[in-house]
Symmetry: C2
Subunit: 288 residues, 2 copies
């Protein structure tokens, strides 16, 4: 009897459950049931059903971050207790990933604390589009930064005839390059140009956007301010449709509405469940 690899979903992955249920068998994997609840005193309770040797535990660590992280540890403990030998943690959105260096003396490197902790129970670690990929070194075993580029490209493919991919700044250029590469499109990035002593304007570098359909891609959208300024500028410059995509929709209050109003379409991946999390990464996870 061949033991299929088990897939365990924490409460930070329940929004992906239906798709995992439908597609797991096609990837020789099997979803197992969990019982997850909170005791009246606030402590978490988890229980994992099903047996096996290897499991992928999927738990995105959006808000409430610390509860999702604790659950991931408890699921790891439960699976080890059951005799699972090899555990992969898939954390589509990693909490504390932006706390990646000491900027003021006396601060921790919070992402280090998180990754060291997860390594107590997990043999492999997977994340999507990590803020600072260098921080994977804090997970002392196999750690992989997955790209959502294929999924983003697939989602926007039909909408990008005569298209171009732009990054909101030079630092995000590699992400634009990856999406453009999937679609055979050109790509570039915005840069900030001082147009007066008090005014800075964004400009796309070395490309003519006139009449082009544009997709701007970034890793995280929070307030969406940059995206809105970029979209407005592109419209002024005569661009066709303007689309915005990001991996992680860490939206501030009202940001989804504000960005949606400024662009032709806003779509983020489902590392965090929101009303615009239309780009699924479930198949990317099932390939692991």
């Amino acid at each position: 009897m061949v033991m299929l690899m088990k897939v365990v979903l924490g409460s930070g992955a329940q929004h992906m459950r239906d798709e995992f249920l439908a597609k797991a068998a096609g990837y020789d994997k099997e979803l197992v049931e969990t019982e997850i609840k909170t005791f009246p005193d606030g402590e978490k309770y988890v229980r994992v059903l099903g047996e096996g040797d290897e499991a992928i535990v999927v738990q995105s660590t959006f808000r409430p971050q610390d509860e999702h992280l604790m659950e991931l540890l408890l699921l790891g403990d439960a699976l080890r207790e059951k005799g699972f030998k090899h555990l992969k943690a898939v954390v589509p959105y990693l909490a504390y990933s932006r706390q990646d260096r000491v900027t003021k003396e006396g601060e921790p490197i919070s992402v280090r604390a998180v990754l060291r902790t997860l390594s107590l129970y997990y043999d492999e670690f997977y994340v999507f589009d990590l803020h600072n990929p260098e921080t994977l070194k804090f997970f002392p075993k196999k750690a992989v930064n997955l790209s959502p580029a294929k999924a983003i490209a697939r989602y926007f493919k039909e909408k990008l005839e005569n298209g171009i991919i732009l990054a909101p700044d030079r630092g995000a250029l590699e992400r634009a390059r990856a999406v453009a590469g999937e679609l055979g499109l050109e790509f570039s990035h915005f840069e900030k140009k001082r147009i007066s002593p008090t005014e800075v304007q964004m400009q796309p570098v070395d490309v003519d956007v006139k009449g082009k359909n544009v997709l701007i891609v970034d890793d995280i959208i929070s307030t969406g301010g940059t995206m809105i300024r970029a979209a407005n500028l592109l419209k002024e410059m005569g661009a066709g449709k303007v689309f915005v995509a990001a991996t992680h929709g860490v939206f501030a209050k009202g940001a989804i509405e504000r960005v949606s109003k400024a662009v032709d379409e806003l779509a983020v991946t489902n590392t965090i469940p929101t009303e615009v999390s239309k780009i699924s990464l479930v198949e990317e996870i099932l390939k692991l």
Copy 2:
């Protein structure tokens, strides 16, 4: 120059801050300042001021448990980053301490996950009145279960002339013995006796409580139901004053009022801040 041992208080120990400030110097210790806040997206931020080699980090892990635990890890990371060489974690109330065994297949041993995690950053671990002291084995370094007996005895000393100490059940007898020992009083425990096919009654074993002032001591009070039944029974049996003490006041809603009404005085230690946390353990901690 002698480096004093530093004391760092997490947000689960801020209720002890004034007393630490007043008394630390008397124990050759020095309180250092921290900055602890929550970012708009829900992530915790900590920062520790002050330098040194050794520190005691005090963080009780009552609700919100997971946030308090994360803070304790982040404080450990920050102190290691600053070059501290030896760190003691003092966790007066340890979250998940009652999840100490697998009762249904597929469950974790949650307290193991917590203690293993803390051992990443801390060299020594101290807790008060742990639910199951055997679980200290999950902390692979020095781990100590501290007794609140001296502090409880000190608090009730004047009120227990002609007194006796009772445990609510046989399992709690050692705690009663310890408090009684400090005061030179006799002690016993309640046991449950079936008085009809449907009715069970509590009875104090082998002691006459008539005219005696009684202190009932337990580790945790939650609903307080047992304490109320015991107090009512003692009053019926002709006891004098009835006092109730516990280490950890994990009170359910309304429990403080219900127990207070049934007894002459209810007092718990300050491992968890409540309106009846009148027994301080700060000096116990400063002795470490």
